[in-house]
């Protein structure tokens, strides 16, 4: 079967012709200039041939048969959820957190939350209790949606101390709803499926996504309903979503990718979304690609590198001929992985770049353009990107190609974050004039492709998840033996980076295997395996600045044998 031409056939022409107003016209909108993400994702399909198309094909654990949910059915289930929120007296603008693994009612809850005009926040279900609790304390949701198992294991112990939460609703299988919770599925079954989606001002809040910085607690990036314009158009151009596509986004909906491209963009584009309940499993993944005839696959470097470890034979035993377009996000995709795709699957991976704050894909290798392996690609139509250096009173754009500077984006795209929750100053610092400062270092080549160089700060990217060292250090510091802790990312061939902690002990405590395990256990219990350090090293003391801050940069340089750089702020001079 011949493959259709890409949506974005001519980059330069589409870019020259592009305007966000025109992109907006591809969506339905609501009366009076209002919008609602869920209206675009669900309601507008109901009057079209898409209504009975499969919106979600859910693949349960093991080898249970797939469950197909049509656009009509998903809209009805989301409508029931919206009616449940209404019946509980949850009002427009209130925050609804969803902490669950990939099950169908997670999607109904997310979309029902949006239909009701509430703000949706996903939480990663592999988080330990601490990251969940801190995000609840910062964001003060009114409602927490979770599963019985996750509630008992990660929430029940502390929820009494978080007064904002008025309702805990359990999705998935409920054996016996614990005190203070209710079975959401049962409530939804009784609720009316008809619900008039709330018309929202395009600038009204829709999504709250947490992300990590170098210092302090997680930041809550706020996004508005008109972000859907960017979700939609980038799904169309950068992921090349086309009618009839079977699309698989492997990102967990607990993170921004799993929302923007794991819920919203595929539904606004009217495609069929594959949702696999299981975690990574190479054989299963190839089987899904084959059996489901996946056409567009959006995954992450860590997963690709895991598949590479299994060798090409496993891939070649499967019929992957339905695939048309492969994309990757999360951290820069190494050139070997791009080539591996081409040799093993017959298609290269198209890397793209964006952040929680940008809400959607900003820079991409497009289907119609030659890939530059290792590059993040070129800015999507509607996005102006540049490389800049700091000056005394702001920034100065670097015009010469191949110079390294901070990647900056001209403000004004619809999915740009509109604030960090309760942190005006932190938000303001992200901008210089009309430019958003991404915190990523990059260079641009003479043909306009951007190349990732590194971060301007100390955040860690492990398996595609952004991890703030402070959150990890704070937990280690709670142990009575720990005087100070510094946490860095060290390169790992599969995960990109893994988390390593350096710990100095209080007098009277001796380093040793037993203590190391105690600290690991503490961190894993509180933070979850994906956020806890994989390695802990004891030091007599850690390098600090004169103002007392741990110099993670220096820890990292010493760990990796890199130049130590400017040590003028090091306490006690060079050690």
């Amino acid at each position: 079967m011949s493959k259709p031409p890409p949506n974005l056939a001519n980059y330069d022409a589409t870019r020259a012709d592009f305007s966000w107003d025109r992109a907006r016209e591809e969506l339905a909108g609501m009366a009076g200039g209002c919008m609602n993400i869920a209206h675009e994702a669900l309601d507008r399909h109901l009057q079209t041939a898409n209504a009975d198309r499969t919106a979600i094909r859910f693949l349960p654990r093991g080898r249970e048969p797939a469950i197909d949910i049509s656009y009509r059915e998903l809209a009805a289930r989301a409508g029931r959820f919206a009616n449940v929120l209404a019946s509980l007296g949850v009002g427009r603008g209130e925050r609804v957190y969803v902490l669950a693994h990939r099950i169908p009612d997670l999607y109904a809850a997310a979309l029902g939350t949006l239909r009701h005009g509430c703000v949706f926040t996903p939480l990663f279900s592999a988080f330990g209790p601490e990251p969940i609790r801190s995000r609840v304390e910062i964001g003060e949701p009114s409602v927490l949606i979770t599963t019985e198992r996750l509630y008992r294991r990660k929430v029940a112990d502390w929820i009494a101390d978080t007064p904002s939460i008025r309702h805990v609703l359990l999705i998935g299988e409920v054996d016996e709803a614990p005190d203070g919770t209710a079975d959401a599925g049962a409530l939804m079954d009784q609720a009316d499926a008809e619900y008039d989606t709330q018309p929202m001002d395009p600038g009204e809040l829709a999504l709250l996504h947490f992300t990590s910085g170098t210092t302090g607690l997680p930041k809550g990036a706020l996004h508005v309903h008109e972000a859907v314009v960017a979700h939609h158009i980038t799904g169309k151009y950068a992921l090349d979503l086309q009618p009839g596509d079977i699309y698989w986004c492997t990102a967990d909906p607990g993170w921004v990718t799993g929302t923007s491209y794991g819920i919203i963009a595929p539904l606004t584009n009217g495609v069929t979304l594959i949702v696999d309940e299981e975690e990574f499993d190479a054989e299963r993944w190839y089987r899904i690609l084959q059996e489901q005839r996946v056409t567009v696959w959006y995954t992450a470097p860590t997963a690709i590198r895991m598949l590479m470890k299994y060798g090409p034979e496993l891939a070649r035993q499967h019929d992957l001929s339905a695939l048309r377009f492969l994309a990757s996000v999360g951290e820069p995709l190494n050139p070997e992985a791009v080539h591996w795709g081409r040799e093993t699957i017959g298609l290269p991976f198209h890397d793209n770049w964006w952040q929680t704050e940008t809400g959607g894909i900003m820079i991409a290798n497009f289907a119609s353009m030659p890939i530059r392996p290792g590059s993040m690609g070129r800015p999507v139509p509607g996005i102006e990107a540049a490389v800049a250096r700091g000056t005394d009173d702001g920034i100065e754009l670097i015009e010469d190609p191949e110079e390294t500077g901070e990647l900056v984006l001209k403000t004004g795209w619809p999915s740009m974050f509109r604030g960090y929750l309760n942190e005006e100053e932190r938000y303001r610092k992200c901008f210089a004039g009309d430019w958003y400062l991404t915190g990523d270092l990059a260079r641009r080549d003479a043909d306009g492709y951007f190349w990732f160089i590194g971060r301007t700060d100390d955040v860690i990217k492990s398996s595609g998840h952004l991890i703030g060292p402070f959150e990890v250090e704070s937990i280690l510091m709670e142990h009575p033996a720990v005087a100070e802790a510094g946490v860095i990312g060290v390169p790992d061939e599969v995960a990109g980076e893994t988390i390593k902690a350096f710990v100095a002990l209080r007098p009277g405590h001796e380093p040793g295997e037993e203590l190391r395990r105690e600290l690991m256990a503490l961190a894993r219990k509180r933070l979850g395996a994906s956020v806890a350090p994989r390695r802990i090293e004891f030091h007599d003391n850690l390098p600090r600045t004169r103002s007392g801050k741990i110099m993670r940069r220096l820890l990292r340089a010493r760990e990796l044998g890199l130049p130590e750089g400017d040590l003028s702020t090091l306490e006690g001079g060079k050690q």
Binding site: M306, R517, L522, K525, A529, R534
Partner: protein
């Protein structure tokens, strides 16, 4: 190596990777990912450690079948007989 020794070896390696697990009370039939919060990096590290310790190579394509301690026992038990 009998089953009991094999089980002990698995638990010791598991304790090194995920010391938060109470290995004295671990169930052979519980899914390590769900009940004990092991992630895929942990699973990879566990299998690598077992390979080093027991000298039994576990082809990567079999990794995904190791859902429980019981699965590991069965697989490693079979392999060590060869």
């Amino acid at each position: 190596m009998n089953r009991q020794q094999l089980r002990q070896a698995i638990l010791e390696e598991l304790a090194g990777i995920a010391p938060d697990i109470d290995t004295a009370n671990v169930s052979d039939n519980a899914r390590l990912r769900d009940e004990y919060d092991l992630d895929s990096m942990d699973a990879l590290n566990l299998l690598t450690a077992l390979h080093q310790r027991l000298g039994i190579s576990i082809p990567e394509r079999d990794y995904a079948r190791m859902y429980t301690i019981g699965d590991l026992l069965e697989y490693l038990g079979e392999q060590s007989e060869h």
